[in-house]
Symmetry: C3
Subunit: 343 residues, 3 copies
């Protein structure tokens, strides 16, 4: 619970209305009632303001709503996220190593970490203070996990991989599986040992069942603040810059270098050994086979500028008609040419 | 084991031949021998009837096969599934909470449920009668699982999610991971807490390593009888109607609403915040970026009516030729125009 | 550690330089220093030879590099893989069944296998000598795993599946989940029990979180030496020949038969019930809906010969322009036709 005044201070906003109003919960604008705070980030939903029964609404500057208590701030969506965190998220008290967890003698687990039953922690592993390992997390030998991380149930981190601070890993993600490398030996394949590691920097989030492969020789790196959705494949030796967004089911092949603040839509695929500049956006299902300069928005497979792709896609459905037109025109042209020749 | 008569009654069919014949197993038509029953659902395989050594064959009405015992029924494929279930599937006897499982004191597990070693069950969880939790299943706090469910090894269900009755979840599926939501904060991203839940209705099946994210504020819902294949991604706040079929590696982005009795082919992708009507079929690899009215068959990316897509795809390979034709025709047109002007 | 002479013998190569030089590690050419061996497989990197500080370099015949110790061999990439294995990979000593593992009374685990904590091994399972089961591996009843296999943490193998020798399975892969089979029953679906199994032959590698479904009635088979990357979906009753390469996020639908020595690029999809010949290459994101004869290189969705696809893709971006050209030319043609008619 918090007063409107407290929440406004939290988000750097201004109260219009009674600052001592108690707020208990965050709710969607259509479902909010007394005690709830809601938000409107998109101007097209402002008409809902008149009808809401919420005790308060977070809005952008210059919104008018007589009779509705407001928290006015520059970025209502961010403010909503902060209020939601403040009111709804409480990190559980640390519980230490619980019975049913299995920790190697040489591992070092901070006293205010929590290790749930079914976790298996290898030799020389270090787990930082405030970190929570949910049931069934497996850390192979020589892994390090920083402070205030949350590794959800079934996460596997293989040997020597390093996880920074405040990293969140959703259930069943796999960090440090062998990269996919084989040397042809006649018609057979000889496994190239993958003796590198993965480094995940601070404030990264990794989605459920996503896989980040260890490098062949050195490091696969996920930059600070980057957020990776579910079922994403990151190949060996890939490096992703800071604050990038990788949506579900994207695949990034080995040795590719991704810049900062990129956004890749769902099911996009990036070839191996290419370089993607900063601030590149790739549309859902985009296929990138070559390097991409910074600050571009691309779609399609192979990718092209997004606007061109939109136009080309619209023409695609007309292709059978275009083809028929071309065939007919060829005949008409020939007739005309004959006719003119004859004269 | 069952007699032909018993099996015919099971499927609402009629025996042609000796009703007391004992049937031990179901086998493919090419491999079936004495004691086996097989089926022919597709008329193009009827020629195999003459050669089969099966003790009986399940067929549609009006099939003639002198000397072969038949079970005649309207839907041979369904009858095959029922016979296979009857002869081959025996639910193991309930075994209670087995040693090596870890159940919180406040959890309630029905006496005739089975909880295998390595399972971890959180506070206030309820597990219904007849339900089987295979090794390594993790149920976070406040989860409820109904009656006669099967959760295979490594399944994770996060806090507060609800699973109905007779739900089957294949190994390593993840129910209730955080949805992928972040509020931009300058060039960084601030995590939007995902405090909603997932509700899975009765008779749903969910494939191996599929991920169904919890809602941001309310509910991600999978409707009764819907079947989801492996490695599927369902984003937060999605709702899927009853009896839909979602094939492997499909991705459905957040807040999208899917109707009843839809079928999405493998690797299809549906954008967020759209609405797909009932009885919509999307072809494999289809990409849907807008809402779709009911009762349509669409393919391509972006999708278009399936038949148009087939034609457009056939023309696509001819595109370089069309392009050359157009270039040549432009030249010929210019020549003709000059010629006519000159005259 | 090894001398240059020993490594040359290992790879069937020839030393140019001092054969007694001690080699400690393998390193990338740019990072290698004294004690390191590196390799150059691609002639375009030969210029790096002059600058490397490595103690030795593995190269192809006819490379000249005065002052640099060389190991000359026909296949430097393969030699690199062998040297890397020799210097960096040491299989841990067998440790037997460790405390915290749960092995059924009727299971048979070879004395020099290793079963880590958190593993659960069902009735009548057999685990061969030299095999390592990392923490949390679950083998259902009647599974057999051969010799010298490595099953990483969280791998699940369901009932009756058979794993050959020297098979490597990366974390969280799922072998033998139910195939996706349902018989329509009015508007609902009736589950077809999946009572077949999976057989994985010798020397196969399977990637993290990949899923190989059990057959409906008989066998899903992965041929000897085939390598499967992460997050791959293999449907029920699929058969894959020997020495094929299946890159990440590929999906192969049920009952499809894949030949030997095929290579499928990332996110490719193969329809069900088709046959793909030997030595077929499918480009990344390729979509195969029909059978494919051997020895072809195909791309696109639907697939076409790779070179045609490259050309068609280049023309695709020009499609709006082509369409405009066609529209304009139609008008000009009409004008010409009128003009000529009038004369």
């Amino acid at each position: 619970m918090a007063t409107l005044k407290e929440l406004a201070e939290l988000v750097g906003g201004k109260v219009i209305g009674e600052p001592t109003t108690d707020i208990l919960r965050v709710a969607p604008v259509d479902e909010a009632g007394p005690g709830d705070i809601t938000f409107i980030a998109n101007p097209k939903y402002l008409s809902k303001l008149a009808k809401t029964e919420a005790s308060a609404v977070i809005v952008a500057p210059d919104v008018e709503a007589p009779g509705v208590a407001l928290v006015v701030c520059d970025n209502p969506y961010l403010a909503f996220a902060k209020v939601l965190t403040y009111l709804h998220v409480r990190r559980p008290d640390p519980r230490g190593v619980l019975p049913g967890a299995c920790v190697a003698a040489t591992a070092s687990v901070a006293t205010d970490a929590t290790v749930h039953p079914g976790c298996v922690i290898g030799e020389r592993v270090s787990v930082g203070p405030g970190t929570i390992l949910h049931p069934g997390v497996v850390l192979y030998d020589d892994v390090s996990v920083g402070e205030d991380c949350t590794l959800h149930a079934g996460v596997v981190v293989r040997e020597e991989c390093r996880i920074g601070n405040r990293v969140i890993i959703q259930p069943s993600a796999v960090i440090g599986a062998d990269g996919f490398g084989f040397a042809p030996d006649g018609s057979r394949y000889f496994k190239i040992p993958q003796v590198g590691r993965v480094e995940i920097e601070d404030d990264v989030e990794i989605g459920a069942a996503s896989c980040i492969d260890r490098a062949a020789l050195d490091v696969t790196r996920i930059g600070r603040g980057t957020k990776i959705d579910n079922l994403v494949q990151i190949g060996h030796n890939v490096s992703i810059g800071e604050d990038s967004i990788i949506v579900a089911q994207v695949g990034i092949a080995g040795s590719t270098e991704i810049g900062r603040h990129c956004t890749f839509g769902g099911q996009a695929a990036i070839a191996g050994h290419v370089k993607i500049g900063d601030n590149v956006m790739i549309g859902a299902k985009g296929g990138v086979s070559n390097s991409v300069a910074p600050n571009q928005v691309l779609s399609g497979s192979p990718v092209m500028p997004h606007k061109e792709w939109l136009k080309a896609s619209m023409s695609f459905a007309k292709l059978p008609e275009i083809r028929k037109d071309v065939t007919r025109m060829k005949r008409r042209l020939e007739e005309l040419e004959m006719l003119i020749k004859e004269r």
